[in-house]
């Protein structure tokens, strides 16, 4: 009879740590763990989005989405099932989707490898299947690869969270040695012909939209804490109207005057990563893996008062060819 009580006690006590066992221990960085609802399943939490001209094949555009911060350390190393991971492309500058590249994942096998399916819409319609950890060719041109990689983001997150305490002596890349899940896709520039000026964002849906991201740290910095879920579930086309005033208030609180704050808010909203895919340049033209977006944004947001976090590059070198991200640690 005693064992009944004992078992009950054990199971109930287990509840206390179940939620905490889920990852997302407050890594509010580029977009890591930016909202309470997202933190419950880190695999649906978009870390970063990159769009750049391929350094090895300039006729191709590369799209990268990273999710599941600290994959393998405290977060899972498989993509969530029944979840769509999407690159959304605006081709005419209205921040409304014109093309979507949608990835879904199946059950991992004994080795952790998952089936993956890419469906496209708004461009040549196709359905491509493959597996994670492998390069998968796209019949209309290009390829994709999904799996665990070195986290390409570099930033002195500790210094940032400690109140912008950056110094050459102390600052280190918090993301050194950490892995992330990533979807890397490259497609010919011609995919979007005749358009070359695109707006790109990534989103996760189940089918309800859970997270979205264009430029780094927009939701993290420019949106009040209580509205981060609302932002994640919103549409870029509404950003200026819905979040513009809040962003201006935050920019002013950061020390900018009203005209500067308005101009910055107009530049950074809607949260879409704008890119001229015929141009090899980097952030704010798209975002390359090597772009020190933190320094650029610190300068921009602080009016030059905080020029750097003293972390200038990733802990390991990126690859010169597809899939560009470094292998996992």
């Amino acid at each position: 009879m005693g064992s009944t009580l004992l078992r009950r006690a054990a199971i109930t006590a287990g509840l206390a740590v179940l939620v905490l066992g889920a990852p997302g221990v407050g890594l509010r960085a580029a977009d890591h763990g930016d909202a309470p609802a997202i933190r419950l399943d880190s695999r649906k939490d978009i870390n970063d989005v990159y769009v750049f001209q391929s350094p090895s094949t300039p006729a191709n555009t590369v799209f990268v989405m990273t999710v599941s911060p600290l994959a393998g350390t405290l977060s899972p190393v498989d993509f969530a099932r029944k979840t769509r991971y999407e690159f959304v492309v605006d081709r005419d500058g209205d921040a409304v989707e014109d093309a979507v590249f949608s990835f879904t994942f199946g059950k991992p096998d004994a080795l952790g490898v998952q089936p993956v399916t890419l469906k496209t819409s708004g461009v040549a319609k196709q359905k491509v299947t493959g597996k994670t950890t492998m390069n998968v060719a796209i019949p209309s041109g290009g390829q994709f690869r999904c799996g665990v990689f070195d986290d390409p983001f570099f930033f002195d997150l500790v210094g940032f969270r400690a109140g912008l305490q950056f110094s050459a002596a102390n600052s280190v890349d918090f993301f050194r040695g950490f892995n992330t899940l990533a979807i890397v896709m490259e497609v010919p520039i011609a995919t979007f012909a005749p358009d070359v000026n695109l707006g790109v964002w990534a989103r996760t849906k189940t089918p309800k939209q859970l997270d979205r991201m264009g430029r780094p740290a927009i939701n993290t910095v420019l949106v009040p804490s209580a509205r981060k879920d609302e932002f994640n579930r919103g549409q870029p086309a509404d950003d200026r109207v819905v979040f513009g005033d809040a962003a201006i208030a935050i920019l002013m609180a950061l020390g900018n005057d009203m005209p500067t704050s308005v101009a910055l808010a107009d530049t950074l909203l809607p949260d879409v990563l704008t890119v001229d895919i015929s141009n090899a340049g980097g952030f704010l033209n798209g975002r390359r893996l090597t772009d020190d977006v933190i320094d650029i944004e610190l300068n921009l947001l602080s009016g030059g008062a905080i020029p750097t976090d003293f972390v200038d590059n990733n802990d390991v070198a990126f690859l010169p060819t597809f899939p560009y991200l470094a292998p996992p640690h």
């Binding site: 009944t4 009580l5 969530a80």
Partner: protein, 425 residues
């Protein structure tokens, strides 16, 4: 400053690029994802924490990794280390919410429920919708028997994370404690389904399945319970809650040898006092008196270690001492101590039983009434309540309660309850 080569310098960078490219050849040849797990995570995080004395974030993550290890092994020492790591993080940054939430969880896991509530309350004062803090606040309030506070936390959690497995599982527990078993099973099933659909990690999915099994077991549905425990073990073959559930099913079917087989495996991997006391019971039932005593001695040694062990396993010790341990007076002291920290319905039931064994039948009856005040569906409550009533001469009520136990599942009746039922019929 924004150069891609940065401080590392061109030649070093070129070397790194070459090394990475060479490494990529191997790592990108279709290899499975790199191994993950709490041990590897702990080693990595400890190294990083040592490298950067400012790094409160890594220390917070380290606390989380220790807590995960504790969940998988049942080893209380992991929660002690988790608490240390979270406190280290908070020394570096006192307002770091995830460390505060983690600390609350680590405290709850050491059965310091009131401290856990206070820590979670601190987080919720800053962000009333923090899912982690709400979950800990709910769990700690339930264990402390602060049910109105638990209800508030649950309502807020369901609002903050509607349909999330963690919220559904807590809703199931609430329904169970209030006797609404249909609803409890429905919520637990929904939690398991949602967890599977979301593709949560195996440990979590197995836990939800085991919970659905546990509720079925208590409703008397042995087949349904076994199916869910089996499903849990198919997901996570060594999940402690699932294995423990399967032990209960086997014992309910009289398969003590089968129960022993599982318990010995669990005891080898995660020797907690609860497991060892159960193993001792099973061995005794199989006539293995000497082995039973050894298991019992190990359980007592673990449960009475100084530090968090003694507090955490106080209730288990009271349960042991009151009957098999032959020291109801000491059991009563422990049960009273336990109730001060952990005033849930189960705490009242244990105290009631200790009072009964000490011959304090009026107090025992009053305590049992408190245990049953919420209408909790718990056959062991009914059996104990019946035996207490019988000791007070209330035969009719005792018979009613014992029949209720038997109708739920004859295996819930212990020898004493069975004999009482036969004599009362």
């Amino acid at each position: 400053m924004n150069s891609p080569l940065g401080r590392r310098g061109p030649s070093a960078s070129a070397v790194c690029a070459l090394a990475a490219a060479l490494g990529a050849g191997a790592a990108f040849a279709g290899d499975p994802p790199p191994p993950s797990g709490p041990e590897a995570a702990i080693r990595l995080l400890e190294k990083r924490a040592a490298e950067d004395p400012r790094d409160f974030l890594t220390r917070t993550l380290l606390g989380g990794a220790h807590a995960r290890r504790g969940r998988e092994t049942g080893d209380l020492a992991c929660y002690v280390r988790a608490e240390e790591a979270f406190r280290d993080a908070l020394r570096l940054k006192a307002d770091h919410v995830p460390a505060s939430t983690g600390l609350a969880g680590a405290l709850a896991s050491q059965h310091r429920f009131r401290e856990a509530l206070e820590a979670a309350g601190g987080v919720l004062a800053k962000d009333a919708a923090d899912g982690g803090a709400l979950a800990v606040a709910y769990d700690a309030a339930m264990e402390a028997g602060l049910y109105p506070r638990a209800a508030e936390a649950l309502a807020a959690l369901e609002k903050a994370a509607p349909g999330a497995p963690a919220a559904l599982a807590r809703s199931a527990l609430w329904a169970e404690v209030h006797g609404a078993m249909e609803k409890a099973v429905e919520r637990a099933d929904a939690a398991a389904k949602a967890s599977a659909e979301a593709g949560e990690d195996p440990e979590a999915r197995a836990w939800y399945e085991a919970r659905a099994g546990d509720l079925r077991f208590h409703r008397g549905d042995l087949e349904g319970a076994k199916a869910r425990f089996d499903a849990a073990l198919a997901i996570h073959p060594t999940h402690p809650a699932a294995l423990h559930g399967l032990v209960a099913v086997r014992r309910a079917r009289g398969d003590e040898a089968g129960a022993r087989e599982i318990l010995e495996k669990v005891a080898a991997a995660a020797p907690t006092p609860g497991v060892l006391f159960d193993l001792s019971e099973v061995l005794a039932a199989l006539g293995k008196a000497e082995e039973a005593e050894k298991a019992q001695d190990r359980a007592v040694a673990l449960a009475t270690r100084e530090g968090p062990w003694r507090r955490t396993y106080r209730r288990e010790m009271a349960e042991f001492l009151v009957d098999r341990g032959g020291d109801p007076e000491r059991a009563l002291l422990l049960a009273r101590e336990d109730l001060e920290e952990r005033g849930d319905v189960h705490g009242h039931a244990v105290l009631a039983w200790c009072l009964h064994r000490c011959g304090k039948q009026d107090e025992a009856a009053a305590e049992m009434d408190r245990a049953m005040a919420l209408g909790t569906h718990e056959p062991s409550f009914w059996e104990r309540a019946a035996l207490i009533r019988l000791a007070r001469g209330e035969k009719e009520k005792a018979l009613e309660l014992l029949e209720r136990v038997r109708a739920t599942g004859a295996w819930f009746l212990g020898d004493e309850g069975r004999r009482a039922l036969e004599s009362l019929r």
